[in-house]
Symmetry: C2
Subunit: 201 residues, 2 copies
Amino acid sequence: MPPPVLDFWFDFASTYSYPAAMRIGPLAAQAGVEVRFRPFLLGPIFKAQGWTTSPFNLYPEKGRHMWRDLERLCAELDLPFRRPDPFPQNSLLAARVGIAALDHGWGEDFCRALFRAEFSNGTRIDHAAAIYNVLADLDIDPAPVIAAAQSDAIKTRLRAQTGEAQRIGLFGAPSFVTADGELFWGNDRLEQALRWASKRR
Amino acid sequence: MPPPVLDFWFDFASTYSYPAAMRIGPLAAQAGVEVRFRPFLLGPIFKAQGWTTSPFNLYPEKGRHMWRDLERLCAELDLPFRRPDPFPQNSLLAARVGIAALDHGWGEDFCRALFRAEFSNGTRIDHAAAIYNVLADLDIDPAPVIAAAQSDAIKTRLRAQTGEAQRIGLFGAPSFVTADGELFWGNDRLEQALRWASKRR
């Protein structure tokens, strides 16, 4: 029987998507669950809720707690952490490169490396040069990947993926969705989502 | 040395305050931490953020996930769960009775019993009769407690407690605050808050 599948929906600009992306691989392997990385854009979904930026910027107390919480969380996980500036980063190009990268075996490595660059080195992910360097550091030839990411085909796929996210009721990231349509929102629901997926194989 | 203290801030109308209230006693005892139950009102804090009702009502996708999440959570914890109607309940009287009750040794039992009535029996906590019954079931004479709850002294104390919540930056419930001012928001941060409190005794 094929292993159960869990969709991992994330936005490269989303703070809690960083620890989720770094944790999901080994936890899913332990649970015998296959993960599909699905980058999408939160921007259009926030806009539909009337928000012009991250709710962490719109609600300062909420934002203050999130930064401190993320700092504590990363310390417990031994993940380096640095607050991106500006926040949120524009993740359009990153998401397109993510979709192009995930057509290859090294796609998830790229996603993790980009999250690490953004949240531990302070790299601005809206610069093509930064993404270029992340690819090069993985010994991937950057130019064809970035060219593919800017093709109409990839732009259309990202729009479709974001449309699907909206259609299935995602409102934040990270989100985890099982094959039977169960939605779990937030890095702290990752273990529960894996349990759910593996029980229903 | 006195045990470290953790403040447990909650609103009787808040959904995730229910599992937190049911879990905190045994977990705090294990961690050697003393808990102070601190009922407050989220309403004025939401209003200051421009919200006229719970964000779970304002953002339907978020609300849909919350109800399902709470249902899954309570199932895992073996807590009965029923969705309160209407939501949120008006928790003004409940909070006043909570403050009056917590002057007595049975105060925390009352808080748990009221949460249970609301979230497992479907009791409307904005009715004095319902609160009267919860007290009577605990073998407490209800009339003097409800009279105390409606005194100016208790009204003033609830206003002061809600003011303090706002001043220290609370934006949701449940929240946990350690003696050294560390804020943890959400039922899923309870264990981490207890670890923090007990490490800094």
